[in-house]
């Protein structure tokens, strides 16, 4: 057996080291009071919880979660936009618009417009011109059709004032009765029913997005739990050794949790970054649905890039960095729970 030539301690005074220990403590450097961190690899977890497969799977989960999150935020924003726009608008159809009104105070459509403009809560009421009506009908009748040859009703576009729109607007039933009295046959069409249907659709889409997020989180937790259990099986002997040396469940679980948290963070960041270009593209495609006036085409490449980034809703910019954080929390909690449950089999 190879031994150092000088003073083999087992040959001389076996307890010299033990007696010398207090002196060693006093001679220790100031930083020597620091304890070893939980990220130290006493259990050899770097090899059994590798930095490829688990981060890759978590990255895939984070990518899907980003899309689900974007779906939720997008549905919410579109619903709000549609609600704000459609709830504040009414359409009034006046048959035989040029005929005299019931009280002979002018044409039927002029009487209806005057009545609407005098109604509290209505910001504007404007009769569509023949040219505007022709534009509306062109998709159905074709460019060569002559709308004047058809008995078309007059159409009045009405916008409610903002406060009234949010409060539910004026009493539409009473308004409809008054308009019918002034010009019989007049139809008042509220967009509320469409707003309600669109809101319900948006809420359903949001619920689906949240459900998808929950499923993704559950799958991520399951993946981390499986990886942790594989690590426990591979390091069973090492765990039994440190357990026998006096390691607490907390000590062992902290080693696994530190490793799982780090790998989940890597996957979370990678998945979120991978999803960003996709989200920017989707936001760019969805931008026309969120505005009434189309944006002018970008002047140059930097303007186009800035346009992509501003197209993404601020809520999403805030939510995306939370995904790696959520991945870390799932990694930490799953590893802690899995390891502590497994350790219960040891005395």
């Amino acid at each position: 057996m190879a031994r150092p030539a000088q003073t083999h301690p087992m040959q001389t005074d076996p307890m010299r080291a033990a007696r010398a220990r207090p002196a060693s403590v006093h001679a220790a450097r100031p930083q020597a009071t620091r304890q070893r961190s939980a990220s130290s690899d006493d259990l050899g977890l770097r090899r059994v919880l590798g930095d490829r497969m688990l981060p890759l799977l978590v990255a895939a989960m984070a990518f899907l979660a980003s899309l689900a999150l974007a779906g939720s935020v997008g549905a919410e924003l579109l619903a709000r936009h549609w609600q704000e726009g459609a709830a504040s608008a009414l359409t009034v159809q006046v048959p035989q618009p040029t005929s005299p009104a019931a009280d002979n105070s002018g044409s039927r459509i002029d009487r209806v417009v005057a009545l609407l403009r005098g109604t509290p809560g209505i910001a504007s009421a404007t009769a569509l011109t023949d040219a505007q009506l022709a534009d509306l009908l062109r998709p159905w009748l074709g460019a060569g059709a002559q709308p004047a040859a058809l008995p078309l009703p007059g159409v009045v576009g009405v916008h409610l004032s903002d406060d009234d729109a949010t409060d539910g607007g004026p009493d539409l039933a009473a308004l409809g009765t008054r308009l019918d009295a002034a010009a019989p046959g007049t139809v008042l069409e509220s967009h509320g029913i469409w707003v309600g249907r669109l809101s319900a659709l948006a809420r359903s889409l949001q619920a689906c997005s949240w459900a998808a997020l929950a499923v993704v989180a559950a799958v991520a937790a399951a993946v981390i739990a499986v990886a942790t259990r594989a690590g426990l099986a591979a390091r069973r002997e090492a765990i039994e050794i440190v357990h026998g040396l006096g390691a607490t469940d907390g000590y062992i679980a902290a080693r696994f949790a530190a490793r799982a948290t780090k790998l989940a963070a890597m996957g979370g960041v990678a998945g979120s970054l991978a999803a960003l270009p996709v989200l920017l593209l989707l936001a760019d495609l969805a931008a026309p649905f969120g505005t009434t006036t189309p944006a002018p085409p970008p002047a140059d490449l930097p303007a186009m890039v800035v346009g992509w980034f501003t197209a993404l809703p601020p809520t999403l910019w805030l939510a995306l960095p939370c995904l790696p954080l959520a991945a870390c929390m799932i990694g930490f909690a799953t590893a802690q729970g899995t390891v502590r449950r497994w350790l219960r089999q040891l005395p």
Binding site: M1, A2, R3, P4, H8, P9, M10, Q11, P14, M15, R16, A17, A18, A20, R21, S24, V25, A27, A28, R29, Q31, A32, T33, R34, Q35, R36, S40, D41, D42, L43, G44, R47, E237, A238, E240, I241, V242, H243, G244, L245, G246, A247, T248, Y251, P347
Partner: protein, 223 residues
């Protein structure tokens, strides 16, 4: 002090109770006492050491160790008790991915000692067992005797109150075995309770002392 009162031990496999490996063992080892643990293979020596190392709990009887009734102790109390017990295993049980230094440092780090103290104590201990030049070497690169010495250093670096050794001289030549016995006796002289399981009759004859003799899981001689 170690006290066993009618202690029995069954192992369990898959929730099923296996054969009884220890039966009706009663004995007392005073604090600072020394005992050889003797008996043929399969007599239950390793099982008794596992019991005293708190790797298993008795399934019958009462075991009092370091002032705690092990059968009734809360599970959370056991790690602190284990830190006062040093164990030298027959198969060393070193962590293969850690260097000799880190293997010896483990008990001190588990006890939450500051890293500076750990470094000083471990270096001293490795020099003591003649491995001061191999602190960064992993177990696979050490000979059997060197691994045994790392295991011994790990067992005693925390100055345990109870030191258990399962065939500790099995991988050592006669000279090394003799040095190890001197170490164990010195630990004992300084107050540690020491229990050594051995097949080496010559070694036992050279270092006579009180012994516990087991046969087929029963204590047949205490004296």
């Amino acid at each position: 002090m170690v006290r066993l009162e009618s202690v029995g031990l069954h192992y369990f496999r898959g929730g099923q109770q296996g054969p009884q490996v220890l039966r009706d063992i009663s004995c007392t080892i005073p604090e600072g006492g020394f005992r050889w643990l003797l008996g043929p293979s399969g007599a239950g020596k390793s099982s008794l050491l596992r019991l005293l190392h708190l790797a298993v709990r008795p399934t019958q009887g009462r075991l009092v160790l370091l002032g705690a009734d092990i059968g009734r102790a809360q599970r959370a109390e056991l790690p602190l008790l284990r830190r006062h017990i040093g164990m030298v295993f027959q198969d060393f049980r070193l962590l293969p991915h850690l260097a000799a230094f880190d293997n010896v440092a483990l008990p001190l780090r588990l006890a939450g000692r500051p890293e500076g103290q750990v470094r000083a104590d471990v270096m001293e201990m490795l020099r003591w067992v003649g491995l001061g030049s191999k602190t960064g070497v992993r177990p696979a690169e050490l000979s059997g005797g060197e691994q045994q010495r790392v295991a011994i250093a790990r067992a005693v670096v925390g100055r345990p109150s109870l030191l258990l050794a399962d065939e500790p001289t099995g991988n050592l030549d006669d000279v090394q075995a003799e040095r190890l016995m001197l170490l164990l006796k010195e630990m004992n002289r300084q107050g540690a309770t020491v229990i050594v399981a051995s097949h080496n009759d010559a070694l036992v004859a050279r270092h006579p002392g009180p012994s516990l003799r087991l046969d087929r899981g029963r204590l047949v001689d205490d004296g």
